[in-house]
């Protein structure tokens, strides 16, 4: 049992089946889909409220998604803790500025990597909120409910992703 916990990686089928069970537990115990892009809206709203309280109180979106420390927010630090435990137990925790695949193609300058990552993060969260969910909310929780919106969104995540990855690594970075 302990051997299993300290392994660097599990079969994606086993880990995936575990996430499928976890998604069911979410519906059963918390009456909500397993998803995490809403948490970022809450964190962002809480930070912004300390600077510009009136803006957050007036904003229509923060009335739909209330900035508060609740289920949807704590899942984000939860994921960080869970991944940290997993990496720590297997001895694979490592501080890295630039992933090797990026570095070998575009160089190991942290500045360039961070600029592109920030841009990616902005598009990622904007797109997630635009579509009403992310790879977990739509890709897993919505698709397993056979939601039309989720299936269309999940397919588009990969269409957009493949297009940009090909542009980056097969055209620009060649």
């Amino acid at each position: 049992m302990l051997d299993y916990v300290t392994q660097v990686s599990w079969s994606p089928y086993i880990a995936g089946a575990g996430i499928g069970i976890l998604a069911c537990l979410c519906f059963l115990l918390s009456d909500r889909p397993l998803g995490c892009s809403t948490g970022y809206v809450k964190i962002s709203g809480l930070i912004e409220r300390t600077i510009r309280q009136d803006m957050v109180e007036r904003n229509e979106y923060y009335h739909v998604i209330r900035p508060a420390i609740d289920w949807q927010l704590v899942i984000v630090p939860g994921i960080i803790i869970g991944a940290f435990l997993s990496a720590l137990l297997s001895g694979s925790f490592q501080l890295v500025w630039v992933p090797a695949l990026w570095g070998d193609t575009f160089g190991y300058s942290p500045a360039l990597r961070i600029i592109v990552a920030v841009t990616g993060g902005i598009l990622l969260e904007t797109g997630a909120r635009w579509a009403g969910g992310c790879t977990s909310g739509h890709g897993i929780s919505g698709t397993l409910q056979l939601s039309c919106a989720s299936i269309v969104a999940a397919v588009c995540f990969f269409i957009g992703g493949i297009a940009m990855a090909v542009l980056l690594f097969r055209i620009i970075g060649l």
Partner: protein
């Protein structure tokens, strides 16, 4: 349904944290919190992400619908639209490849020490959330409702019993995964 449990706000916060920890642990163990694995999937050279997601969908689909039959869970689906699901999905995809993580795996990558995920991705996600809150009123009175889908779920769209969709979908997904293994991908 476990309505009494659902109403206990404080217990729910603890549950959210525990579910997050389990989710992060499984994401990290499956390998999808690594930049190279995500980009490998988008370049169609490494199918770990799809294997994990489709395995979760198969198990979850059967489990969820069994629980629903027992009256223990209910559907949580929204009406999608071309303007929302398709446009948002493509924007998400572009960010997915630029960042090399998704909203869940970027948090997982932070946990395993990826500093580009913390100072790049995480920061960008918070900026993106603030940005979206500002443009939401305009989007909500326009594009988000353009071309709304006629039904919320596939069984509703096809007007058939849900198991007549679940069984062929699970069989198709299993067949696709077997094909991936057969091809050595």
């Amino acid at each position: 349904m476990l309505t009494a449990l659902h109403r206990q706000t404080k217990t729910q916060i603890v549950l959210g944290l525990l579910i997050g920890i389990a989710f992060g642990f499984l994401l990290q163990k499956s390998g999808v919190t690594s930049y190279s694995v995500v980009i490998g999937q988008l370049l169609l050279t490494d199918f770990t992400v799809l294997k994990m997601m489709l395995s979760a969908v198969m198990v979850g689909m059967i489990g969820f619908h069994l629980l629903k039959r027992m009256g223990l869970v209910q559907l949580h689906v929204a009406t999608g639209s071309v303007g929302s699901s398709l446009t948002g999905g493509i924007i998400f995809g572009l960010g997915f490849a630029l960042l090399g993580y998704c909203p869940g795996t970027v948090a997982g990558a932070v946990g395993q020490g990826a500093l580009d995920a913390l100072f790049g991705g995480f920061l960008g996600m918070l900026i993106g959330a603030g940005l979206f809150a500002r443009i939401y009123p305009v989007l909500n009175s326009g594009i988000l409702h353009k071309g709304e889908f006629p039904a919320k779920t596939l069984p509703q769209l096809l007007q058939v019993n849900e198991w007549l969709v679940i069984i062929p979908v699970v069989a198709l997904v299993a067949g696709f995964l077997l094909l991936l293994e057969y091809l050595g991908l």
